[in-house]
Amino acid sequence: MIDVKNLRKSFGSAEVLKGIDLSIEKSQVVVIIGPSGSGKSTLLRCMNYLEVPTQGQILINGTDLQKADINKVRSEIGMVFQRFNLFPHMTVLQNILLAPMKVRNIDRKTAEQDALVLLERVGLENKADAYPTQLSGGQQQRVAIARALAMRPKVMLFDEPTSALDPEMVGEVLDVMRNLAKEGMTMVIVTHEMGFAREVGTRLLFVDDGKIIEQGEPRVVFETPKEERTRLFLSKVL
C-alpha cells in the first residue's frame, strides 16, 4: 500500500532523513517511536508530500507521488496533527464538510449525513454547531479525526495526536484510534504512548537520527530490543 524507497530529506545542509526503506501493507497499524528531532514527523509528512523528499521515492498503491496528481493522492490520505489544526472560523460541521464538498463535489445533503454519522462515531454528535475554540483539546482532536475520515481515506497518518492533550483527554482520542484500527484502517502513527503502541500496533519502528534503527512486532521490540540505541531509548520512556 505504501512503499518508501531510499527516502532522504535535507533541510538546507542538515540531512534529517538518511535513507528510509519501508513497506506498509493494507490494514497494518505501524507505530513510529523515537527521540524528539529524529525525523519522525518529517517521515510522516513525506508520505503525503507535505514535505518533498530530497531523494528516493514514495509509492502509494504503486503510484509514485513524484508523478501523481498530488491533490488526489492527499484526498485519499488522512492526516491528524499534534495541534489539531481545525479551522477556527468554521463550525465543527463545516470543518468536516469542506473537503468532501470542495474536493469531491459531494452535495451538501449527502455530505452532512456522512458528517453526522462520523461525529457520532467519535462521540460528538451534539457538537456539530460548536466552534473549535468551544471544545476541549480531546474533543477537537476527535473532530480532526472525523474531518480526515470524511474523505474516506485509504490510510490515516497521525503525528503525535495526543501529545498536546491534557492527560485526562488522551484516552478518548486513543479509543477512537483503537476502533479505527479494529475496523481495518491502515494507519501510521507517531506517538509517545507506549502502552497504546504495544496494544494496537501491528508493527513498531524505532527511528533515531533519520534512520530506522529497529523494527518488528511491538511486543517483541519492547521486551527484547536488539539494538543498544533502542534499549537506551526504551529505558528512558518505559
Binding site: 491533490n71 492526516m79 489544526n85 481545525l86 479551522f87 469542506l98 474536493v103 466552534y131 475554540t133
Partner: protein, 222 residues
C-alpha cells in the same frame, strides 16, 4: 481678527457636497485598492519568482514615491505617452486606487502570514488545492486581523485624497480653495474643511472598531 460665522454657514452646503465627493472617491479607490491589494498581497507570497518580483516592484515603487508625484505622473505624464487627455476624476481615482493597492497588499500579506502555518497544511492534507485553501481557510481568517489596518488605510487615503485638488479635481479641499479665492475667508473655510475631515475620519474609526468587535465574538470565545 473677526470670525465670520455667516460665511461658514453659507459655504457649508458647498463644502458638504465636496466632502461627499471626497468620500466617494475614497470609497471607490479603497474598493479597487482592496482588489489590487488582495491579488498583489497573494502574489508576494506565491512560489513563482516572476510574479513575486513584479509584486515587490509595484509595492516598493508606490510606497517609495509620494502620492503627489504619482498623481502628476498619471495626470500629466501618462497623456504624453498615451496621446489622450485624462479626466481629473479618472486620474484621481486611478492614482488613489493604485496607491492604496500597494498599502493594502502589505496589509493582506501580513494578515495571511499571521495565519498559523498548520492551517495551510491541514487544508492541503485534505486534498484542497492551494487556491482553495487560500480562499476557504486562510483568507477568511486573515480578514479578521486585517480589519484594523485596513481601517487605518481608509482613513489615510481619505486624508491623502486632498492631494488630488492639485489637478483641479473638486473634492473637499479644492472646494475650500475655490471658496476662499472668492471670499478671502481663509480662517473660516480652512477650519470648516478641517472639521469635515475630522467628522469623516472619526466616523470611520468608530465603524472599524465596531466591525472588529463583531468579528471577534464570532469565534474567539474561550
Amino acid at each position: 481678527m473677526s470670525f465670520n460665522l455667516d460665511l461658514v454657514i453659507k459655504s457649508f452646503p458647498l463644502l458638504l457636497a465636496g466632502a461627499l465627493i471626497t468620500i466617494k472617491i475614497t470609497l471607490i479607490s479603497v474598493t479597487i485598492g482592496i482588489f489590487i491589494g488582495l491579488f498583489v498581497g497573494i502574489a508576494r507570497i506565491v512560489n513563482i519568482r516572476a510574479v513575486k518580483l513584479f509584486a515587490a516592484v509595484y509595492v516598493d515603487f508606490i510606497r517609495g514615491t509620494p502620492l503627489l508625484v504619482q498623481i502628476f505622473i498619471i495626470y500629466f505624464a501618462m497623456p504624453i505617452v498615451l496621446g489622450i487627455k485624462i479626466d481629473p476624476l479618472i486620474a484621481a481615482i486611478t492614482a488613489c486606487s493604485i496607491n492604496s493597492g500597494a498599502y493594502v497588499a502589505e496589509i493582506f500579506r501580513a494578515g495571511i502570514q499571521a495565519v498559523d502555518e498548520g492551517q495551510m497544511e491541514a487544508g492541503r492534507s485534505l486534498g484542497l488545492t492551494w487556491p482553495q485553501t487560500m480562499r476557504y481557510i486562510i483568507i477568511p481568517q486573515a480578514f479578521k486581523s486585517v480589519i484594523p489596518p485596513l481601517g487605518n488605510e481608509f482613513i489615510a487615503l481619505l486624508k491623502d485624497s486632498s492631494l488630488v485638488s492639485v489637478i483641479g479635481f473638486e473634492e473637499l479641499t479644492r472646494r475650500g480653495q475655490l471658496i476662499i479665492a472668492r471670499t478671502y475667508g481663509s480662517l473660516e473655510i480652512w477650519l470648516s474643511v478641517a472639521f469635515l475631515y475630522l467628522i469623516m475620519t472619526v466616523t470611520i474609526s468608530r465603524l472599524v472598531a465596531y466591525l472588529e468587535r463583531r468579528f471577534d465574538t464570532k469565534y474567539d470565545r474561550r
